[in-house]
Amino acid sequence: MSRILQPASERRAETHPLTWRLHDDASPVLFAEYRDTGGYAAVTKALEQHTYESLTTEVKGANLRGRGGAGFSAGMKWSLTAKGDDVPRGYIVCNADEMEPGTFKDRLLMEQQPHLLIEGMILAGYANRSKQGYIFLRGEYHRAAASILRALDDARADGWLGSDVRGSGWDFDIALHTGAGRYICGEETALINSLEGKRANPRAKPPFPGQSGAWGLPTVVNNVETLCNVPGIVNHGADWFQALSGERSSDGGTKLYGASGKVLRPGLWELPMGTTGRELFELAGGMRDGLTLKSWLPGGGSTGFLLPEHLDLALDFDTIGKTGSRLGTGLITVVADDQSMVSLTRNLEEFFARESCGWCTPCRDGLPWSVKLLRALEAGTGEPGDIELLEQMARDLGPGKTFCAHAPGAAMPLSSAIHYFRDEFERGITRPRGEAHADPIPVGSI
């Protein structure tokens, strides 16, 4: 179970729009409590005061950037979605396939406060003239599934879903779809294929899902956290949202940040967008067991490794982007000095190689080769040229060279690990067989 580590007393509606209702005991916020604490007010407001266009404009104005990791403006995405009287109503799909290594934020929101997501989806559905919503949920999140199913029933029973939503004459419903366990389903077009019952291969773009998505209809795919931000924006306005991050970042709102790895207190915190890595690191209590920070991933396995010196950077999309890494999901993974970068990278690349859909060559055949090279380096059987080959592959797995962003994401930790910790990789070649990492870092220590 993922937990928010800020006590309830510190979380307030105005400053912690995502988590202020959450209970310290992590029990879910049920329908009655949610409704009695201002829940679904945004839907009422939208139905009464907004057209789908004005709602889109409001969200666009808030500069809500996609919390799934790519950081694309949600309002922009909505405004690019085909809608109008002559366009058939399509779908709003919640990307809840949270499989990014080191990421567990959507899970918290869905397990403990599913109504916020449902409210966000209703609003997104209204803004995009969708006829139906789908929550594409990671299959292993069975607790979240139970929580969502109950919430959908309760919301439907109270008229927030189904035909004629709260007497507005507008029809909209949401269905839960649990995935079968593929990381690539987090890629929005692969998700749509999977939702349609097809192989989870990404689709060629254009057409973008907003033009031709699920079953050929206009489809908006948004991350859980992104959608959970929408009720607050509708309730309090774009300016309020923008102000949440203050001077810290040009990106608005709060962010559900997290830390995992060898920190004292791994967990989640809702903080203003643009909080620095150091603040987060310190909230997590710093390193445990007297370890020293060696490196960190800013937002999941598909982001590039950073060094301790990067901790003072603001954790927002643009700032982290300038380092050559990415903000990603904003949940940092902390690496201690007793961990082998080779083993860690190998472990990540094994994941990415396994999760390749098999559509395009670099990803399908390049990643497994990189894994084998990393295993060789790990075992001390690396050969001269292996590192250069890995670097070349990391380049050739980069953006524009592959069909989707999966391989470029996989290339990020690889290229950054070699860039910052080349000596660890070189030990896999220079040392005699089997002794590569005997000193100082034990092999397999990840």
């Binding site: 060629a204 254009p206 050929g216 859909c357 990643l367 080769w369 050739d396």
Partner: protein, 927 residues
């Protein structure tokens, strides 16, 4: 048009293309795998990367996949850029990571796109030093062999099999570097087009199993441009021969007809050429009287055979000839010359011949032209009356499928997605389809893509057609007594045809129903009167040269039999025709028994051959030159692939027309003259106005390029000096081909730069696979630069002013205790020659009798029960097949596969009786 700048040169290209397509069309080489000219781009393999620059000043540029990059005017790209080259080399290195590098034992070797592309990219050092991933292979039936370890995961196979051809039993399984292309379990591939996998697969995963059984490398095969003889579609093929046997049939590109794809009957049905029991010497049969088995057979030399045949025929008081719709125009014409036009029978049963002539007339005066197979792909509404196209003209069905899919292309275009962006078009298309209406007695596999299907008896199918014509044009005769559901369907069909720009009506010979053909004719005429200039009428004929015979004219087979039976004629020459496959044996026997001289010219040992006094061994398509006319009226030449007597000196196989020429000279006691094929074609061209275009349709024997004949063999052809060493250590001169511009040799022109229409095999430097066709086309996937082979003999269908047919049949009514019998075409086993090929026999469905399950229940018949069907003089017991779709009152029998059991079915099966064979059923129960 757009101007693009490629490595410093400027080119004019189509702006609707992608860069890969445009560059390949310019003759520039970019390696590729997942892209296919008929299937478009999907951006999976990443092999075709090139550098694209923002403008003339941009020096950095960025890599793009040329297959996914639309042509833009004033675009600057580089193929030779070092980064692009390095990336392409890396991609092929990745593709080869798990490849077994088994070229020496791989049957794709020598015509392998992967080999070609690997060489093209310059990848020649393997850096991958780890263990390779391996797969298990599957048994996929008698046609296609499977070796998954060679797979480079380009997804072409499933894209062809599922998206292009509509198959469902081959798919992609697994993920990451463990993607598996196969069936969910071992078993025969169900698609009628599975053989194309061997050509769309860029490597040796899917190879030709029939080729494997007598394997020869492509470079060691001798080829000729040929035409498939297994149905009337007129697909162009490249048969390859070695040591006197046809080893495989490869697709031959014709931009108007089959383009890249063949059906499995055409590709794998060649085995009859290689049959060991084929007559190879003239045979003289000794028998006491006709109708009994010959007591002895004497093999003869040619001169003796001609003398004896002439003597026998001279003894006859009147001589007639029976031609054949599976023989060439030239052979049939030569027979007609021998016996005289008034004594020439086309060898086609009277009813079929009448329908054939009716179809001919509609092609002339319906006002609606016959589209080519390629034009069909662009049709936007299709009505099929009576034909299960997958059985009667399978390649045509594949074109119809593309027509239906065309709706997705249209929807894509509306949103700026070009046709070549295949997956994007698929995303937009979803289930969108151009309307397809199928009216057949039985369920068909095309039903899956049909807008509406109607199951009906032949007369009701005709009535539906007549009613559609009336709905289109009220001056067409109306159909009385249609029920509401039918009336609604009629309205829907008429609306769809009217809404379309290029509506297509298809009917044909499948149900042996003149009414169905007339109904299609009325629909065509109505469309013509509604000014549908883009409308098409496709009339499916049964055999490879049915149309040619219809144009040549003559009497029916029934007439010929009557002539003999009535003693009007007693000498007969039968050309490449097994009469016993056309009419019931009793009828044939009654006629042949009265013949005093019976000469049969054929390449198969048929039941008719067994009745001959003298049998003359003819060449098949592989050993002859000739011309066929396809169902779209396209006269196409097939060329002799090899000289059978070079390697088998004992053989006396000759082209049928050569036998007939010699026989005529002998008969008339004229000195034997040399006959050249061109002279013969001239004679045919002069025989009727419709044949006049044959004058300049094909290159004449004197055609040369750079003074050279055209090579039938690739320049790497090996072993020629040794291949006859078992007979004689002295190598004789290679056979000389006086009839065509082709040489039985690797010497001669084999290039692609000089335009030529008739290409024995596609090869260009660096391009050994079928993708070498790129080099012969005006643009890739377009037409051959020199023009597509063949010439249309009829295209103008008049103004459609001929009057409507008003012979509307009464509605079908089921009878008590009697069933209307219909014989339905079969792809495998349905034609006289390919059913003699073993791989086809392996795919033939065991004959069964199909009846409606309610009828069956009423008769106490369960599935697989032995059922005795009797009609006319025919009585046969077959296992029952229950068809939920077949209308009550009908019984369906398979056409073609039944004949070997009972002989030919009567032309019109009429009404018959059906009963459970209780004796057999009891016996089975006891067993």
């Amino acid at each position: 048009m757009a101007t693009i700048h490629v490595d410093g040169n400027d080119y004019e290209v189509e702006d609707s293309d992608n860069l890969l397509h445009a560059c390949l069309s310019l003759g520039l080489d970019i390696p590729y795998f997942c892209w296919h000219p008929a299937m478009g781009s999907v951006g999976a393999c990443r092999q075709c990367a090139v550098k694209q620059y923002k403008d003339a000043d941009d020096t950095r540029g960025m890599l793009v996949m040329s297959c996914m990059a639309p042509v833009k005017d004033d675009a600057y790209i580089s193929i030779d850029d070092e980064e692009a080259k390095a990336f392409r080399e890396t991609v092929v290195e990745w593709l080869m990571v798990n490849h077994p590098h088994d070229c020496p034992v791989c049957e794709e070797g020598g015509h392998c796109h992967l080999q070609d592309m690997t060489v093209m990219t310059g990848h020649d050092r393997r850096r991958y030093r780890f263990k390779k991933r391996t797969h298990r292979n599957q048994y996929l039936g008698p046609f296609v062999a499977h070796e998954m370890n060679r797979c480079i995961t380009c997804y072409r196979c499933v894209r062809f099999y599922q998206d292009y051809a509509g198959g469902e039993d081959l798919g992609a399984f697994g993920a990451h570097d463990n993607v598996y292309f196969g069936r969910y379990e071992e078993g025969t591939l169900e698609s009628e087009f599975s053989g194309n996998l061997t050509e769309v697969c860029p490597t040796g995963v899917f190879t030709d199993q029939t080729h494997s059984d007598h394997y020869t490398r492509k470079w060691d095969l001798q080829f000729a441009p040929s035409i498939c003889h297994q149905c009337a579609s007129g697909c162009n093929i490249s048969p390859g021969e070695r040591y006197g046997d046809i080893r495989r049939i490869e697709n031959r590109y014709n931009g108007d007809v089959n383009r890249y794809f063949l059906c499995d009957r055409g590709r794998f049905g060649y085995g009859y050429v290689n049959r060991k029991d084929r007559p190879t010497r003239p045979e003289l049969f000794q028998r006491s009287q006709r109708g009994v088995a010959a007591q002895g057979v004497t093999l003869m030399e040619i001169d003796e055979a001609l003398d004896r045949a002439a003597d026998a025929l001279r003894g006859a008081k009147r001589l007639i000839g029976i031609g054949s719709p599976r023989a060439s125009l030239e052979s049939n014409h030569r027979l007609r010359e021998l016996v005289g036009a008034e004594c020439f029978s086309t060898g086609i049963e009277a009813g079929e011949f009448e329908r054939l002539q009716r179809m001919q007339a509609l092609n002339r005066d319906s006002g609606v032209a016959t589209p080519s197979l390629r034009e069909i792909e662009a049709c936007d509404a299709v009505l099929v009356l009576g034909e299960d196209l997958l059985q009667s003209a399978a390649r045509l069905a594949l074109s119809v499928r593309q027509a239906v899919r065309g709706k997705g292309v249209e929807l894509g275009a509306e949103r700026g997605i070009p046709e070549w962006n295949a997956e994007a078009v698929k995303t937009i298309a979803q289930d969108a389809a151009h309307p397809l209406f199928l009216a057949t007695p039985e369920a068909t596999k095309l039903d899956a893509i049909a807008t509406r299907t109607r199951r009906a008896a032949p007369d009701d199918i005709a009535r539906l057609g007549f009613a559609v014509a009336h709905a289109l044009d009220p001056t067409a005769p109306a159909v009385e007594g249609l029920d509401d559901a039918t009336q609604t369907l009629v309205g829907e069909i008429a609306d769809a045809l009217l809404a379309a720009e290029r509506p297509l009506v298809i009917a044909g010979e499948a149900l042996a129903s003149l009414a169905v053909i007339e109904a299609a004719g009325n629909v065509a005429r109505a469309l013509a009167r509604r000014q549908k200039a883009g409308a098409g009428l496709t009339l499916v004929r049964r055999e490879a040269n049915s149309v040619g015979l219809g144009l040549l004219g003559g009497e029916s087979l029934d007439w010929a039999l009557a002539q003999l039976e009535q003693g009007e004629a007693d000498g007969v020459v039968i050309l490449e025709n097994d009469l016993y496959a056309r009419l019931p044996a009793a009828k044939i026997d009654a006629a042949l028994d009265r013949a005093s001289a019976l000469v049969v010219i054929d390449h198969q040992r048929t039941a008719t051959w067994e009745q001959a006094d003298i049998g003359l061994p003819a060449g098949t398509f592989a050993e002859s030159d000739g011309t066929l006319v396809s169902l779209e009226g396209r006269a196409q030449r097939f060329y002799q692939v090899f000289d059978p007597s070079y390697l088998r000196p004992d053989t006396r196989i000759r082209e049928s027309w050569r036998w007939l020429h010699a026989l005529q000279a002998t008969l008339e006691r004229q000195p034997m003259t040399t006959i050249l094929f061109d002279d013969l074609t001239e004679a045919v061209a002069g025989a009727a106005a419709v044949f006049a275009p044959l004058h300049h349709a094909m290159p004449e024997a004197q055609f040369r390029i750079h003074g050279l004949k055209l090579a039938r063999e690739p320049h790497r052809y090996s072993g020629r000096t040794a291949m006859r060493a078992n007979l004689d250590v002295n190598e004789p001169r290679a056979p000389v081909d006086l009839d065509t511009p082709f040489a039985f040799s690797m010497e001669g022109y084999a290039g692609y730069r000089e335009p030529r229409r008739e290409v024995p095999f596609a090869w260009a430097p660096g391009w050994n696979s079928p993708q070498a066709w790129n080099k012969f086309q005006d643009e890739v996937g377009g037409h051959l630069r020199a023009g597509d082979p063949g010439i249309r003999l009829f295209q103008d269908a008049g103004a459609g002013e001929a009057s409507y047919c008003d012979a509307i049949p009464a509605a079908f009514a089921a009878r008590d205790g009697e069933w209307q019998m219909i014989a339905l075409p079969q792809l495998f086993g349905g034609d006289e020659t390919s059913r003699r090929a073993e791989p086809i026999q392996a795919r033939m469905a065991p004959p069964a009798v199909t009846l409606n399950d309610a009828d069956a229940e009423a008769l106490g018949i369960a599935a697989d029960d032995p059922v005795t069907v009797s009609f006319g003089d025919t009585r046969i017991t077959l296992p029952a097949r229950l068809g939920r779709d077949l209308p009550r009152g009908l019984v369906a029998l398979p056409q073609g596969t039944l004949e070997p059991l009972v002989g030919a079915l009567p032309a019109t099966l009429g009404w018959g009786r059906v009963a459970l064979d209780t004796a057999a059923a009891d016996g089975e129960a006891q067993a």
